[in-house]
Amino acid sequence: MKSRRLDTLALVAGALLLWQALHWMVGANVISAPIATIARAIELLQTRSFWDHAVSTATAFGVASVIAILAGIVLGLWLGLRRFAGDVADPILGTLYSIPKITLYPLILLIFGLGISAKIAFGVIHGIFPIAIFTMNAVRNVAPVYRRTAQIMQLSPVTTGMTIMVPAALPEILAGIRVGTALTLLGTLIGELFASTAGLGFALIRAMDVHAVTDILAITTLLFAFAASVNTLLHVAERWVRHHG
């Protein structure tokens, strides 16, 4: 455990050195120095406007995640339990997952206009498909004996889903949620970049407009730290469920 922490420290130190070297190579006009950036990030954390933007992003991201997770799991459960429907939907879901959703931004903008609903919609279309695909495959891989038990006990589809399939498939569903929430955050931020007047994505686009390099890097660093923490938490939950569930 101790050596692991040391490795992490070494990685962080190495990354900072690399960053500093890049800064010297290309200049402050392209990449701000790591220390200046971190100082700026800490400064931002103490301003009111940063937190207003952060709350706006967090609200959209939260709502989008809840919708993507619930709808993705329900869709995945249904498709996983119905073999035929699952076979029909499988490549369609795969295609929807792989198309570059960013190309749909004009469509989303035209439907939802500027504002929080466009951001949420953008987050949902990014997150829902991986969650549905992971859930569907997880349910399909559940041992057939569970499914037969449910049949013998004449459980309704909803009870089967809630009491048997979800617990049995939980580790993989959590993996889907991990991938899905990361993409939901990406979608929400893209929505803010192109279609919004508030949020950290909007703060980024404004920093981009006036070429505030330190601000761009500081906000991105904070967002990355947030995304990595969420990811790590879900990873820990996934491992815990795998061993204790």
């Binding site: 490795d7 006009n29 035929f84 190309t103 469509l107 970049l193 070429h211 990873h235």
Partner: protein
């Protein structure tokens, strides 16, 4: 055609017919979306008139260049990372959080570094694609069976030969997954860059049409982009499935 295939086709046809109907009835207004049939005719006009050919080839060659760079560098970094487990462990959560951040916020910085043009776009695309290749290369090398590695040492192959003759083929299914994702992400990076600022390219033409309320051209171009991505993705997925079957699902 199998029963599943028929049902799938029917589903797609129903969805598009419903969209067509909603558009024709005016429930979805023309300002929001044009009927799918008009998107197809608009796409046909674009292809036939050739008026966007230079933009299409601009984007196409940028994507090819970005994907090649992403795959090459991603493979080398992934192979390197695989041999350094102590570096890999703390790096893994960062790699899987990478796609939560819109990397194209760095695009303006790339423009300052390289100017508006191909280089900035290609760097943008490969920055977005490279991490998928790194992750899948390490995964692929994880899945090389110990028996294959032992065969290499029994045959006394040198390191390079072991890599090319044994490990690469054994890791191939995951490598192809990496290639598929690297291509997909390179496309996203480049199109996003073209949306933001570019002198040419499909993304540039889409945002230009959007700004000028030229929905017909915009949807034609979007359809072109989506069809192209689906074809590339479908071909790579078929290759991926074949490799997975040949090497067994591991």
């Amino acid at each position: 055609m199998t029963k599943v295939g028929v049902a799938r086709l029917a589903f797609v046809v129903i969805v598009f017919s419903a969209l067509e109907l909603l558009c024709r009835l005016g429930i979805i207004t023309r300002v929001t979306m044009i009927p799918p049939s008009e998107m197809v005719t608009s796409l046909w006009d674009i292809v036939e008139s050739g008026r966007f050919n230079s933009d299409i080839s601009f984007t196409f060659f940028n994507v090819v260049a970005a994907a090649v760079v992403a795959i090459g560098i991603g493979f080398l970094l992934g192979a390197g990372l695989h041999s350094l487990p102590r570096l890999r462990r703390p790096l893994e959560p960062l790699l899987s959080a990478y796609y939560a951040i819109p990397t194209f916020v760095f695009y303006p910085l790339l423009i300052v570094a390289f100017g508006v043009g191909r280089t900035a776009l290609v760097v943008m695309g490969s920055m977005f694609g490279v991490v998928a290749m790194i992750v899948n290369t390490t995964l692929g090398l994880d899945h090389v069976p110990p028996a294959v590695e032992r065969t290499g040492s029994v045959l006394k192959l040198d390191v390079l030969r072991q890599l090319i003759l044994l490990r690469l083929p054994a890791a191939a299914p995951h490598l192809v997954t990496g290639v598929k994702l690297a291509v997909a992400y390179s496309i996203i990076g480049i199109v996003a860059g073209e949306f933001i600022l570019a002198t040419a390219g499909i993304g540039k033409r889409v945002s230009f049409a959007y700004d000028n309320f030229d929905n017909r051209t915009m949807y034609g171009l979007l359809l072109l982009l989506l069809v192209a991505v689906m074809l590339v993705n479908g071909a790579l997925s078929a290759w991926e499935r074949r490799l997975h079957r040949r090497f067994g699902q591991r």
